[in-house]
């Protein structure tokens, strides 16, 4: 029978919502147990949150000062050790999971399944290739541990609240390297909803024209309580920071409502949004590819349309 170890992602003492999505994927394996592993210098608050996620059997914590920051070189040897006895190790396919999971796989000497969209059987998965333009079915060798990253946009978060999984401390005394050091994390400070888990997202593209003009996108997003994203073109042009990029190499998101404003819709961008519930496109070019995937399209000047939308919202 399968036993799945899910690696918790957390920052600043808070569990990242992607963890509960990875737990959903773990539940789809239909194994006998799902344990969540929290590596931190102070794991208690994160572990308490993880213990509430439906379907979690145990939360395992590893408390070491080296775990204060998520450095793959530090975490991977501990995860590889903790993986002993598990058939599967899952991590969310975020920059955290993408960084650490392959390092774990290599230490275990196994392949990794990246960006799992669906679990067909305990060792059979679907995943996207070519920016999501093809979906492959892959079979992992059942004689080896499966290391996989979970494409968070394909999974809803496992419910949280009623579960009270036991929290157990693990002592993992593997030697850790000193060759990699955390220096700092520069986070954009924002009171807006988190782009990766928001139910509504408003994104701006090259059509917005400048960093200053992007204020119109922020203002509209705030009015409807949406997170703000951007196309690669807008980020490359310096209109907004890298963490706002949506697409093949940025964030893959699945909000209920996605509004693409001044975005033409390169396939690399569409990859990041195709699981959205409803897509709205506003663009002055009626031939833009974004309209091919939009549920609602409106052709026109965004600087005229956005104030009209705000007026219509009252």
């Amino acid at each position: 029978m399968s036993k799945i170890l899910v690696i918790a992602e957390h920052l600043g003492g808070k569990l990242n919502a992607s963890t509960a999505r990875a737990v959903s994927a773990a539940a789809a394996v239909k194994g006998e147990a799902i344990d969540v592993l929290v590596l931190s210098d102070a794991p208690d608050a994160v572990a308490a949150e993880a213990a509430k996620i439906e379907g979690v059997n145990r939360v395992l914590t590893v408390t070491r000062p080296e775990n204060a920051h998520p450095l793959a070189a530090m975490l991977a040897p501990q995860i590889a050790k903790a993986a002993d006895g598990y058939s599967h190790v899952f991590a969310p396919s975020t920059t955290f999971g993408k960084d650490v999971a392959p390092r774990v796989a290599a230490l275990l000497g196994v392949a990794q399944v990246s960006d799992v969209m669906s679990v067909e059987a305990a060792h059979t998965f679907k995943r996207p290739i070519y920016a999501g333009n093809a979906i492959i079915t892959v079979e992992a060798d059942a004689n080896h541990t499966v290391v996989a990253t979970i494409r968070t946009a394909s999974w809803s978060a496992a419910a949280s609240g009623t579960n009270t999984a036991p929290v157990e401390a693990l002592a993992i005394d593997v030697p850790l390297p000193t060759h990699t050091r955390f220096v700092e994390l520069n986070q954009g400070s924002s009171d807006r909803p988190d782009l990766q888990s928001a139910s509504k997202v408003v994104s701006g593209g090259r059509g917005v024209g400048s960093k200053e003009n992007f204020d119109i996108i922020y203002k509209f997003a705030d009015k409807i309580g949406a997170a703000v994203g951007a196309s690669r073109a807008a980020v490359d042009a310096g209109y907004c920071p890298n963490e706002m990029q949506v697409g093949q190499t940025g964030k893959i998101i699945a909000p209920e409502l996605y509004m693409a404003i001044g975005i033409s819709g390169a396939i690399q961008h569409l990859t990041g949004i195709k699981d959205a519930g409803t897509i709205v496109a506003i663009n002055k070019d009626g031939e833009a590819p974004i309209f091919e995937v939009a549920d609602f399209g409106l052709v026109g000047d965004l600087f005229k349309i956005i104030p009209e939308l705000e007026a219509a919202l009252g």
Partner: protein
């Protein structure tokens, strides 16, 4: 210092991928092939480090069939000193690629290995991290800025939360993100010069790398298509439609 750069050939990013009707693969016959865009960025970064005097030699590495040589010539034309072509007719999965790189590292003793963060064909995003693990050296993935001084790399990484800065002692593995640099264009005289640059051919089998693939791809399918929606005439109609769906 030597820098090893992974230089993979992939279906050009502008090609619209078609899945074969029998689900056995994607159509690659007659399709334009180019360098993986992240690998062009990796090579550009290595060349800039050489131009700054940080490195003396830049070596591009490719793993693939005999006709990969022409692709490696492009890397030489862009400015690499020499190329290593590990020849194999078989597709190579990331763990095997990492093991190949480890063998080449043992031979070449580079101070830095720069790879693209992912190849845009299999989108695996694994090889650099796997190599760093096997080599037991630092990894700095998704690099947006790289500075090398005093035997260490200070790398700004593009992560979901923002920009993370880490220090990695050399030798180390760096994987590139999109905004690290803008690769240069190849000029005609450089193509001529590249013809005389050396390409070492190494038979895959001679490396002693275990090539058992744990993953088998059993089926290819086209993604579910989103159906085309409706065009609305103005902002009021759009707001009304979204309100009706309970989205606003």
């Amino acid at each position: 210092m030597k820098i090893l750069v992974g230089y993979k050939r992939v279906v050009d990013y502008n090609v619209r991928i078609q899945v074969k009707p029998d689900g056995s693969g994607v159509v690659t016959d007659g399709v334009k092939l180019s360098a993986n865009p992240f690998d062009d960025i990796a090579l550009e970064e290595a060349l800039r480090l050489r131009e700054k005097g940080v490195a003396e030699e830049v070596i591009v590495v490719g793993i693939g069939p005999a006709n990969l040589t022409a692709h490696l010539r492009n890397g030489l034309a862009m400015g690499a000193n020499r190329a290593i072509h590990v020849t194999t007719e078989d597709a190579v999965q990331p763990l095997t690629a990492a093991r190949v790189f480890l063998k080449l590292i043992e031979k070449e003793q580079p101070g830095l290995v720069i790879l693209g963060k992912q190849a845009i064909d299999d989108d695996a995003n694994q090889t650099g991290q796997m190599l760093a693990a096997l080599w037991d050296r630092p990894q700095a993935t998704f690099a947006g800025k790289v500075e090398i001084a005093d035997g260490k790399a200070t790398v700004t990484r593009e992560v979901d939360a923002g920009l993370e800065v880490i220090e990695a002692e050399l030798p180390a593995v760096i994987t590139t993100d999109l905004r690290l640099n803008e690769p240069r264009f190849i000029k005609l005289p450089d193509i001529m010069k590249a013809k005389s640059k050396p390409i070492d051919l190494i038979e895959f089998g001679s490396l002693g790398v275990e090539a058992h693939d744990h993953l088998k791809t059993t089926h290819y399918a086209a993604p579910a298509k989103r159906s085309k929606g409706v065009m609305v005439k103005d902002a009021a109609e759009l707001v009304a439609a979204l309100k009706q769906k309970g989205l606003l």
